[in-house]
Symmetry: C2
Amino acid sequence: MAEIVDISSGESPVPAPARTLADNVFDQLRSAIVGGEFAPGSKINEPQLAERYGISRGPLREAIRRLEGCKLVEIKPNVGAKVVSLNGLQAIEIYEIRESLEGLACRLAAARATAADCESLRNLLAQHELQIESENGRRYYQQEGDLDFHFQVVHLSGNQRLIQLLCGELYHLLRLYRAQTSSQPSRPEQAFREHHRIVDAIEEQDGELAEILMRRHIANAKAMLISQLKQSDT
Amino acid sequence: MAEIVDISSGESPVPAPARTLADNVFDQLRSAIVGGEFAPGSKINEPQLAERYGISRGPLREAIRRLEGCKLVEIKPNVGAKVVSLNGLQAIEIYEIRESLEGLACRLAAARATAADCESLRNLLAQHELQIESENGRRYYQQEGDLDFHFQVVHLSGNQRLIQLLCGELYHLLRLYRAQTSSQPSRPEQAFREHHRIVDAIEEQDGELAEILMRRHIANAKAMLISQLKQSDT
DNA sequence: CAGCCTAATATTGTCGACAATCTGGAAATA
DNA sequence: TATTTCCAGATTGTCGACAATATTAGGCTG
């Protein structure tokens, strides 16, 4: 269907990254899983999916192995792959790791961010402020806008492995959890204020404070999640 | 060659986990890479390896995709996989992440560890004390014993995803780096003392202190690494 | 009717072959 | 001689077929 075209104007310095069928199917499957198109715990049927994407089982199996690496599916030998089903406990585990790693990211970002970087963060927050007023925007902010902010901060850390770990793996799992549970964090105003404080600290190159604020920010979200879980359990 | 046998005495509760060829080759390749049997940056030749392990390229390619997920090889489309070559900068990135995550692990471990767990840690340290006296033991302690301790502490955290992340991925990368650079941390006595302090804090269920001590412990190792790198650069 | 055994079916695991792409070196040209 | 072009070899990407294993459906027995 969609042809691979060069978006950038003129000839790009990178002559179009050669992509294999397994690569493409990996991306499509990941989007589908993270987007909630597959029910949690549902089985991955190889012949069926191979037909759906018009490829043979070879590349498909390689794509599935890569999904396993991202922890998006679980594979049992001679049985097959299932879409992971995240329960509340596992979500809390992820929040604990985020709390720790994004604190680190903030500390590093405070030491590296330029004035332009900080302005870019402010712009993102201003954008969020506009969107937060409408109900649709509020919903957007809660679901994706929050991750956008964290995404950008993490990229300022400069630690490539940290960036890959958070943006390439953990955030996909978070999206999956939100899609599977349709949970709404529902504290946009407070989160918005906390985001601003974090940018303040980064702008002042106060890494220690930035780390503390980010950890507290995520700890707050975790506490909210825990209280929701307790409520739905009883 | 080596047959798969049940190590445990009597019939095991788990009736031997079915393993596929790709699984076995993945384990063997990972050990070989982490053990330094492949030169850093060396190319992975599929037909050659398939012959060596007596399997076809299909399962081998799946094993390679899983190695890519562990960040032990890098794959370029139409070119092939290479064993990762970790430079000093990347090693520092890993230490930064360890500092953060193992601090978390310690805090969690302090809240969960039983008396028996603590005694087990003490036993491990006592073992290390015996080994540390001989030159061979010193070498062992520096290379593997240190990771043994961290491995055990991390397992006490109870956070499954954290355990998998540290013990299933990052530690393998550390071993790879040590094998590739033949670097010796060379501060066994200090590290040994720090390990004891960490166990003290865990035993007293002082999670905050345990986190601080572990972070400092790894920060010390990171500082040592950085000074070594500067020395070898000039 | 419940439970178990058995056979038929479906799915995963593995293999060998072919197509597409990259790599290295020889030959031709300036 | 330096550079470019092109070809042959090697390697990766993809496919379809077969073998091994798991799952399901049906019938049998108690």
